[in-house]
Symmetry: C2
Subunit: 448 residues, 2 copies
């Protein structure tokens, strides 16, 4: 048996998984490398953070997704080096994996714009562990507020939530948090009313969900307000600590003005940057990167001068026909992954190369709480319940595993009908180990 063309794919997200699947019938040998053993349906991660879904329900083991694809093996490991001259990928444990074609699909990570110290007080939402930690923080805040109920100031701090970043993740988190406070937890406490919660959605730009039309932005803002979420535009965060968020904004007369929101719970949904693997690859290949660290790829999605190294998804910086960089969303990653796979097949078969990659935008959607969403689909703006139905349908269809799909569907059905949330577990940390709460609680309880 002659040696088959070896394709190594790094990352089992939307880009990598689609590339692997698009190579199913190809005369190649595929190795998919990922740090984790599962594909994560990232657009629903905020539902884990808010206790609506359990991790297993939006994840699918990579091995089982690729089970019937005999030309593909899955490797659990972390890439620490790439040698384009030797055409080898090096894993953390020293293993060297040879490739003929490489597809980089390692995605992005959250960015604090150089203020990594803020991470301690304002977790972001990229991994399952992040989501569980945020869930812990949110649910614990209500518990803590209950315990300090007779100290109005402390109670208010525990019941104040700030979400930094009003893109899709921020808006969806804020909306769900609004539902939790106003509906899910409504009858669960004896001394506080969860509806007292103040939820601030803050952003440097002038409107929420800036990827959508102004009209849709306004509708989304209105929907969020109904859920108790107040949007604060034009607000630049300058500090995050145990007490809350410090910011500058434009005061009356256009003068910059300092401000502060006292809050025990801050969540970061503001920015992303390239993964460590991308930065490494850019350095090794001398590839040019854009702001945020994504690699500027050729029209064939490869790195200039490295025609056998493809970059897809959040890591790739590519301009659409209007000269705007493609957004870091699942759809783009999936189409790019498929394109890279097809391009490799053409090479292996000595066929003429593919025309430049072209993104086909099927539209975008963001959900704002129960039964409400905004959508821009095939050039048409939609909002409210119809948009939510489309969102529901599309997301369910895309979830990789059949079993998960049905479960999520039923879970959502229940949520919709009952306002309850089944996955409201505070795990991973002892109940009273959250910093800065204990002395407060002690005082409150002994004075009770």
């Amino acid at each position: 048996m002659p040696d088959k063309h070896k394709v190594v794919i790094i990352g089992g997200g939307f880009g990598g998984l689609n590339a692997a699947q698009a190579l199913k019938a190809a005369p190649v040998e595929v190795t998919l490398i990922d740090k984790r053993n599962f594909h994560l349906f990232q657009p629903l991660l905020y539902q884990i953070a808010t206790g609506s879904l359990s991790p297993g329900e939006i994840s699918a083991p990579l091995r089982s997704v690729l089970r019937n694809q005999k030309n593909c093996s899955v490797l659990l490991g972390e890439v620490v080096d790439i040698d384009p001259a030797a055409k080898v990928v090096v894993l953390k444990d020293g293993a060297r994996i040879p490739y003929d074609s490489l597809i980089m699909a390692t995605g992005s990570q959250s960015s604090y714009f150089g203020n990594d110290a803020w991470r301690e007080w304002a977790p972001s939402l990229k991994t399952i562990e992040d989501a569980i930690a945020i869930r812990h923080k949110i649910l614990f805040a209500f518990e803590a507020a209950e315990r300090v109920h007779n100290q109005p100031e402390e109670r208010r701090e525990w019941l104040t939530f700030v979400i930094v970043g009003a893109g899709a993740t921020g808006a969806e988190l804020a909306g769900t948090l609004g539902e939790i406070a106003n509906e899910t937890l409504k009858h669960d406490f004896r001394y506080i009313r969860p509806e007292e919660a103040q939820i601030f959605l803050v952003d440097g730009s002038s409107r929420i969900l800036p990827a959508y039309s102004e009209q849709l932005s306004r509708k989304a803002e209105k929907s969020l307000l109904k859920l108790g979420v107040r949007f604060r535009p034009n607000l630049r965060v300058t500090g995050v600590d145990a007490d809350g968020v410090t910011f500058t904004t434009t005061g009356e007369g256009g003068q910059p003005q300092q401000g502060h929101i006292r809050a025990k719970t801050v969540i970061w949904a503001a920015g992303v940057t390239a993964s460590a693997a991308t930065s490494m690859l850019a350095k090794i290949t001398g590839a040019e990167t854009a702001k945020g660290g994504a690699i500027k790829v050729t029209p064939g999605l490869t790195i200039p001068n490295y025609p056998n190294i493809y970059v897809v998804g959040d890591q790739a910086w590519y301009l659409d026909s209007k000269g705007k960089p493609l957004p870091g969303v699942a759809q783009v990653a999936m189409q790019e992954g498929t394109y890279a796979a097809k391009s490799i097949v053409r090479k292996v078969r000595n066929e003429e190369p593919l025309p430049p990659f072209k993104y086909f935008d099927k539209g975008s959607l963001a959900v704002i709480g129960r039964g409400r969403a905004i959508a821009h689909v095939f050039g048409v703006d939609l909002s409210g319940f119809p948009a939510w139905l489309i969102w529901l349908f599309i997301h369910l269809m895309y979830i990789v595993e059949f079993q998960s799909r049905i479960l999520v569907f039923i879970q959502w059905g229940f949520l919709y009908l009952t306002h309850s949330r089944g996955a409201r577990l505070i795990t991973g940390r002892a109940a009273d180990e959250i910093p800065d709460g204990s002395h407060t609680m002690k005082a409150a309880m002994s004075g009770d």
Copy 2:
């Protein structure tokens, strides 16, 4: 409003939750204290450890279970002291909670019989975090075996699993592990056959599930063997480390004989001991404890000389009509919790005291893999599929929250039909951070 009789319940497991619910209509003020914010359906914890279910599916937030019970509040906290003279419970953060009646329902924890160093190599199954850690260990072992596939000895070590303790938890874990190896993962790997896995169930006694009749034990052993699980009786574990399990057993001629099983994965299901809170309470009250640390309670389930302190569930040592101590199972805890609640109501109402507690044994059940179980119900022995159906029905009925019940039911339906497992996530730890694996893998991969 005159001060109501204050009932403090420590622990939101089966005993504590049932006590709280039985006090629903009573003229008392109930405070349920737990370290966690959820009730856990512990009998199904092994299904989380084996990737069949997600944590949210067998847990219910205590607040939402008790939402409509207006005389009950839930407090998240850890009890560090009890003062029976002042009738006060002290929490870790210093809060002092007064009581008129106290119900202790803090359950048991796993015991390594004085060899706590074994815990590092042989995790046990008591909490959600334990279950996730065991899931990680099991799934990672197959991944590691795939990577060292061309080193037969290393591969065998990764594919050898030892479960210590052949009671219900051990037998159920072993059966599910057998299914994972022989069915779930069957087509998932390229270089190993998961069916190669060797699963040993070891115990100091002469048969598995000794709480059942000998005939049922034998049937269960046979069912397990079909799933590739080998039972090793009369085997006393004398050491657990990174390489496996050392034991003594009775050799030919009745001489004690040393032995060793080389295995990378050992799971501890062998014993339980009283919780820290129980030991503390026994010390404070001078109560007599039994082997294992449970408190010897009066026929009214109280501590001798402390008629207002009840002990229920795994912590209570109580003899049945045949002079045998009641087992540490959910049913006992639930009945005891309800009894304690009723006893308190009688006192508050100045009615005559309840007759001594009497356990009504509805029967016991253990499941051995897909569609097989053994049961002793109302004096009748059952096995195979009928027993499994009863098991399925009873467990579903008991799961506290309606939503969870339906989801688990569907999840099981799928499992039964498809052999797939939706919650096969390795989370919480980087992929290649398991000790002792990396150097092996490195060698294996570079020699590939």
